[in-house]
Structures are given as structure tokens and as C-alpha cells.
């Protein structure tokens, strides 16, 4: 789960990674082209997930990730290091995904704003009384993965993008705000609404499909 502030150790790791990336970029630009593979390898997965959540099609998402990486390679000399390399890559991916959606004339057809907001604009959570644990077999059978993917993809775009950058890519509020040209306060509001919409959408479905079993969350919570 994304955290608000990095610990000093995490900050050191980030700085080390940035230094390694700067060194790799320098080597690529001076002729060691194959270093580009190492540069992008840590980000393949999260860029794919971000793009997939936008275009909602695995084949298109894969094509867009490839185009993103090639565009990054061709524009690498223009990367000034003012932002993180990962944020720069994500910005390219978001532009590519949006271009793909525009080209296909696809827009969000599912808007849940009105459904989930009261007159004060606040999202209401689904008021369950007993949250049962989710059986491991359900996750393994992909039912749960599918439910979650569908719910994320059905979020209106402005909420979905913030949620994916923050809770899937684990960007900070500030990075997300910079990337989307928003104020940090707006990012927090959108993130909150996105999470409430997901809770509202998923809690009843998971509760319905879930037999009375407990214990799997202890397994999931062990994940760092």
C-alpha cells in the first residue's frame, strides 16, 4: 500500500536508484545502447498496469507499453533528470494511452459520480457490518483479480488515473500531482473518492461471494 512519506532508508534507496539510472542513461547516450534494457526493466510491470487500467485491453496495453519504451529511448537525450525517470516514463505512457483512446473515439461510458456522491459531494462507503475474509482459492481462481480489475477500470478516468498512479504505481501525492498538473489537495480528494467508490463497488460483491471463512487477510498483510 502506498505510504505518505518515505523513511530515510527508503529515501536513500530512491537516491541510489536515481544515481544508477543517471549512470545508465549516460552510458546509453555514449553508445552502450543495450543498457536501455536494464534501465526500463524495473518499470515494465507498473507501466503495463497503468496503461492496461486506461485502455482496458491487454493487447492494446502491450502495444502501448512497447511504443512508450521506444519513445523513451528516442527521447532519452531530452530527459533532464528534473523528475524521476519512472515519472517521466509514466508521463509518456499516459500520453500514449490517451492518444490511443482519443484515436479510437473511446470515452468513459460508466460514470458513478452521481451515484456515489451526496449533495455535499462526499462519497458514501458501502455500510457493511461484518467484513469477512476472502478465501485464498478465490484469489487464485482469478475471480477476485477480475472483480478488482473491473472495478478499477470502471472508475471515471480522473479518479482511475489518480488511483492507479498512487495505489498501483505507489507514487507519492506530490509526484502524482506534478504528473497530472493538479494540486496535491485535488489528488487527495480524487484518491479518497476513488477508494470509496471501489469500497462501495467491491464490498457487497465480495461479501456475497464469500463464504464464512477468515484468515486470508493475515496472509495478504504479510506482504511488505
Amino acid at each position: 500500500m502506498a505510504k505518505a512519506e518515505a523513511t530515510p532508508e527508503q529515501q536513500t534507496q530512491v537516491e541510489m536508484r536515481q544515481a544508477q539510472e543517471s549512470a545508465l542513461i549516460g552510458r546509453i547516450l555514449t553508445g552502450e545502447r543495450n543498457c536501455f534494457h536494464d534501465l526500463i526493466r524495473p518499470y515494465e510491470r507498473r507501466i503495463y498496469v497503468t496503461v492496461f487500467s486506461m485502455v482496458r485491453n491487454a493487447g492494446e496495453a502491450e502495444e502501448i507499453v512497447q511504443e512508450t519504451m521506444l519513445k523513451a529511448y528516442r527521447s532519452l537525450s531530452g530527459f533532464r533528470g528534473e523528475s524521476k525517470f519512472s515519472s517521466w516514463l509514466t508521463a509518456i505512457a499516459l500520453n500514449e494511452a490517451r492518444a490511443c483512446l482519443r484515436k479510437a473515439g473511446r470515452q468513459d461510458t460508466f460514470s458513478v459520480d452521481a451515484e456515489f456522491e451526496n449533495e455535499e459531494g462526499e462519497c458514501q462507503p458501502f455500510q457493511l457490518r461484518d467484513w469477512r475474509e476472502i478465501p485464498l482459492e478465490m484469489l487464485e481462481r482469478n475471480n477476485l483479480a477480475r472483480l478488482l480489475q473491473d472495478a478499477i477500470q470502471e472508475l471515471p478516468e480522473k479518479y482511475r488515473t489518480v488511483f492507479v498512479l498512487r495505489d498501483v504505481e505507489e507514487m507519492s501525492i506530490e509526484e502524482t500531482a506534478r504528473l497530472l498538473g493538479l494540486e496535491p489537495g485535488n489528488v487527495k480528494i480524487r484518491l479518497h473518492r476513488a477508494r470509496m467508490m471501489l469500497q462501495n463497488r467491491l464490498a457487497p460483491a465480495l461479501q456475497r461471494e464469500n463464504p464464512a471463512r477468515r484468515g486470508i487477510w493475515a496472509f495478504l498483510r504479510r506482504r511488505p
Binding site: 505518505a4 515494465e44 462507503p125 457490518r129 477476485l144 495478504l220
Partner: protein
């Protein structure tokens, strides 16, 4: 001072992320001790975030990485950055 369910929900996201005033944090924690609805809402939202971060939820297509690097290789062979 006690808070009600609406106030607790409004601060839920900030609570989960940790960027929250310590007084409000303590009020939420006290509230969910006694409110089973908010306790379940908090747990379900937190669990959805744990799931979102689980690699098994968003699986890459088979051989995704191989195809990506093969495509990059084609370009690396013929183009300088």
C-alpha cells in the same frame, strides 16, 4: 471530542495513508473501536488496497517481457538514442 461516522469516512483515506492530524487519528481509532460499521468499512477499504498491490491481481500477458525486449532490440540495433 467524539466524531461521527461521516467525519470518520471523510478522513479514511488520509488515515490509511498516514497523513493525518494526530488528534483526528486518535478520534478515528476511538470511533472504530465502538462502531462496527466504520470498523468494517475501514477494514474493507484497507484490504482492497492490499489486494491492489498484490502482483497476482494484474498479471502480465505470457512472454510480455520477451516480446518487449525483442522489439526494443530491433530498434537498438539500427537507431542511436
Amino acid at each position: 471530542m467524539r466524531i461521527d461516522c461521516q467525519e470518520a469516512w471523510k478522513a479514511l483515506s488520509a488515515y490509511l495513508d498516514g497523513y493525518i492530524d494526530p488528534v483526528l487519528r486518535a478520534q478515528i481509532e476511538r470511533h472504530v473501536q465502538f462502531c462496527e460499521v466504520c470498523s468494517a468499512v475501514l477494514d474493507s477499504t484497507r484490504n482492497i488496497l492490499y489486494l491492489t498491490a498484490d502482483d497476482r491481481v494484474f498479471e502480465l500477458p505470457g512472454n510480455f517481457s520477451e516480446r518487449l525486449h525483442a522489439r526494443i532490440d530491433e530498434v537498438l540495433q539500427r537507431e542511436a538514442p
